[in-house]
Subunit: 146 residues, 2 copies
DNA sequence: GTGTTTGCAAAGTGTTTGCAATTTA
DNA sequence: TAAATTGCAAACACTTTGCAAACAC
């Protein structure tokens, strides 16, 4: 039996299942991160914001482990990396096809459902290359004075 | 008369004009960077690649000045910043409306003319916010084994 | 001359890594 | 107990900054 949890502990059971489904050992750290990410709808985090949340809840996980885990989750297909800012790396728990608003000033990411946007006239990839994915980022900011 | 150039020196004259048009003093460093960027069609550079090019041509400019100058040019509207990679900042000499292919493996940016792609069904920006711009990045990579 | 620009080196930010100690199976 | 994982601290890559010297006008 893993840790202090038993099968009656639903949130942990779900996290354990999720990790097992991608062949990652359900360690204390991964479970804690898993719950923080997936127990509450779609989320956008950076390593630093996620680490701060965990620390704020007295859940001790090192920043290095948060970084490593976010990448493991991404490789496993549980997360998706979103590039919108040169400085930091964002991770999105919503792995379905969709695009983003990015609030330049606040650094906030907001999902736009996949059906909301259609990209037409996509060129074919240059010779020998293929399309991996198409990202649409709508940069938004505080409206100019009216 | 600035430096060793005179008005018969066309490339420098053009660079001087370009800088003057955005109220930037035509210093030796800015002129050299200006020519490197704009004398040869559309280009995508990072501070490091541009600096390496200049140094390779014995044109001495410090990396700090390259960084500063790229940002000045961007603010002045001569360049556009393109976010496609978490690690480095790309600058594009093509400031017209267009989108990009990004070769994930090689880190190459390729322009797609603006008319080539249409984004339909753009949602309106959340309350109090307005759209600054819409970026479409098509991530490409070596085609899978055939 | 006076204000601007440059270059250096130091500092900063976000991220990755080597490795001993710990934990999981 | 063997293999995987963690946390620390050091290393990293890229970028920004403070300030004295050099430069443009």
């Amino acid at each position: 039996m893993a840790f202090q949890f038993d099968s009656f502990d639903r949130p942990f059971a779900a996290a354990i299942d999720r990790l097992r489904s991608v062949s990652l050992r359900p360690t204390r750290q991964r479970l804690v991160i898993c719950r923080q990410l997936f127990d509450a709808g779609d989320r956008h985090v950076t390593a630093e914001t996620l680490h701060a949340e965990l620390v704020g809840q007295r859940l001790r996980v090192s920043l290095a482990t948060v970084y490593n885990t976010l990448h493991q989750f991404t490789k496993a297909g549980l997360l998706r990396e979103v590039v919108v800012d040169g400085a930091k790396t964002y991770f999105d728990t919503n792995i379905s096809a969709h695009h983003h608003f990015f609030d330049i000033e606040r650094g906030d990411l907001i999902d736009i459902p996949g059906e909301g946007i259609a990209v037409n006239g996509l060129p074919t990839a240059p010779d020998g290359l293929e399309i991996d994915r198409v990202d649409v980022v709508i940069r938004i900011r505080r409206a100019a004075r009216g």
